[in-house]
């Protein structure tokens, strides 16, 4: 990936992280940990890969994103806002009773949200339906879905995985955000989904392993997925929960908790410093 493009993506991802922290802080609730772990991939998809039009969010030929791990809505909202789907200031209205930014993504109220999600396991099936629709109509759009590593404990994920490969849906990419943590502990302690790579391979998917925070690896994986024909692609993205905010990193307690005022200041100052470094080319 070109250095200038990479730098721009890093800047955007940092702004997405600031949007996440702002949203969750003002809402006094939400899910910062998994939002931060998926921030780089969402940034890459919306700013470098997906064919979308913020002026026409329902454009029928657009690429689709189904946030199967719907609780990381703050990350999707921050990305969509920065991409121009709605004002960035509105991120501070997250989860408020008069806001169109629901606690989990709602396609009826939020421009750019392609599917309402939140109940784990259902999003990937909806993404399979979209990919199937693309095949039947002969449209060239691609469908992306992001799942949590805890989410794949849901049986429906494997119903969807089986069907997607049975139908050869190569216009579908499922990202597994493998941050290794879920509410009750590490995924391995709770109910190990490992080995994830072998499972998806056994279900007939093209599988690629990457670091979720390396834009070079992200770019290579999504490009390879686009080239690969005959099978859907699963990108197993090793990530750090809470990535980018030092005290949230790899801490299960930040799965679903909002920072207090002091923690908010610290998180924002870390991200501002990171942004300044990126902009100054350090």
């Amino acid at each position: 990936m070109e250095a200038t493009v990479k730098k721009q993506l890093k800047i955007k991802a940092c702004q997405v992280r600031m949007g996440i922290i702002n949203g969750v802080y003002h809402a006094k609730s939400g899910h910062p940990g998994g939002s931060l772990s998926s921030a780089d991939i969402l940034t890459y998809l919306y700013f470098n890969k997906m064919n979308v039009d913020p002026k026409n969010p329902k454009w029928e030929d657009r690429d689709r994103m189904v946030l199967s791990k719907g609780h990381i809505a703050p990350a999707l909202y921050a990305t969509l806002a920065l991409r121009g789907f709605f004002p960035v200031e509105d991120l501070n209205t997250l989860r408020k009773s008069d806001s169109y930014l629901q606690g989990h993504p709602c396609m009826k109220t939020t421009p750019g949200v392609d599917m309402s999600t939140g109940s784990l396991g259902q999003g990937i099936s909806a993404a399979v339906g979209m990919a199937l629709g693309g095949k039947v109509s002969g449209k060239g759009f691609r469908v992306y879905t992001i799942l949590g590593d805890g989410e794949i404990q849901e049986g429906q994920v494997w119903e969807a995985a089986m069907y997607a490969s049975a139908k050869g849906l190569d216009n579908l990419v499922a990202v597994i955000d493998n941050n290794n943590l879920q509410i009750d502990g590490t995924v391995a302690e709770v109910n190990s989904p490992y080995p994830i790579v072998e499972k998806f391979r056994a279900f007939g998917w093209n599988v690629i392993e990457i670091c979720a925070h390396s834009f070079d690896e992200i770019d290579a994986a999504f490009n390879a997925a686009e080239e690969f024909k005959g099978k859907p692609t699963a990108i197993i993205a090793k990530s750090t929960k809470g990535k980018g905010v030092s005290f949230m990193e790899d801490q299960v307690s930040w799965h679903g908790a909002a920072p207090n005022a002091e923690q908010y200041e610290q998180a924002m100052s870390e991200l501002k410093e990171e942004l300044a470094n990126l902009e100054n080319g350090n």
Binding site: M115, G118, G121, Q122, S125
Partner: protein
């Protein structure tokens, strides 16, 4: 007397889908390995490129249907009522209902008349479950004529619709001049002493009950409610006002179905005695459908008995 035509509403469903597919190329049909039983196989034969079998995975099928519908298709997703409304309830609620997606659930083998397969397959809870989902339309046709009309009306409507069909062949009660209007009940007989509000295969039983009551000098009004949600409240309130007593009849648990809907409506608008005929909060069992319907009181004799009870409860 002319021969009575008997057809299962699921048969009419399959035929109507194929008919619809011929005039609407945006119709896609999904099934979960029951195409031969739900009769979506008729559509599959006619339009194999627009038919998808998801295998035995109803939850996945419902969410796939939701995703598909957002790409410009009118999707019919079929399974037995037990699995479409029961097993996949949360997918119907969260993937379809919450976003008001354009998916029609073709749920066959509803109720006790499934027969020999027994309790695990006799869904008497589906109307109650579907009624609690905001914006869900519920249609329970009484015969093949109504079933066909319901399929076309559902395709015209933008949003989720639950279509309830039966396995058992039932008598045709509607003529060639039949007109279906979603959300509008149909008054089949006029009467002054009691109103029988029936749905599905119980509509025919209500008509038989009308004759029995008439022979005993009791004048019953008979209303066919094919659309349970949205309910034709105006028609029901007016009938309650005219007759002062109501009996409901459905092949469903007396909790949460048509009886529940009618009782809720009348108690808030025009309280009159309401007596419910239905499966009395119990599980089904194996047996020939016709026998089971009698065993569970889903027949004209029970409607007659309940009609008399409702009349006796009137405050004079």
């Amino acid at each position: 007397m002319a021969d009575i035509i008997k057809t299962a509403t699921r048969e009419a469903y399959g035929k109507a889908l194929a008919e619809l597919g011929a005039v609407n190329d945006k119709v896609i049909v999904l099934d979960a390995d029951l195409a031969a039983a739900t009769k979506t196989g008729v559509f599959k034969k006619a339009f194999p490129e627009r038919f998808f079998d998801t295998g035995i995975a109803e939850c996945n099928m419902i969410s796939i249907a939701g995703g598909l519908s957002t790409t410009g298709f009118t999707v019919f997703a079929s399974s037995f009522a037990m699995f479409a409304a029961g097993r996949a309830f949360e997918q119907v609620r969260n993937t379809l209902g919450y976003s008001h997606l354009n998916v029609k659930i073709g749920a066959t083998h509803a109720g006790i008349s499934v027969g020999e397969d027994g309790a695990t397959h006799q869904c008497c809870e589906d109307i109650a479950l579907m009624r609690t989902i905001p914006g869900m339309v519920i249609i329970n046709p009484a015969d093949d004529v109504e079933a066909r009309a319901a399929v076309f009306a559902a395709a015209e409507y933008e949003g989720p619709v639950y279509l309830r069909f039966g396995r058992l062949a039932v008598p045709r009660i509607n003529g060639e001049d039949y007109k279906f209007e979603m959300g509008k009940g149909i008054t089949l007989r006029e009467g002054t002493d009691v109103t029988i509000v029936a749905t599905g295969l119980m509509v025919n039983e209500a008509l038989i009950a009308y004759d029995i009551l008439a022979a005993e000098g009791i004048s019953a009004k008979v209303i066919n409610i094919h659309t349970i949600k949205p309910l034709d409240k105006e028609l029901i309130i007016k009938a309650a006002e005219q007759t002062g007593a109501v009996v409901t009849a459905e092949e469903h648990n007396i909790i949460g179905g048509l009886g529940g809907a009618v009782a809720e409506t009348l108690s808030e608008n025009l309280p009159v005695p309401v007596v419910r005929v239905g499966v009395e909060d119990t599980f089904g069992r194996s047996g020939p459908a016709a026998e089971l319907l009698k065993i569970f009181g889903l027949d004209a004799a029970n409607i007659v008995e309940k009609a008399k009870r409702a009349i006796a409860m009137k405050k004079n």
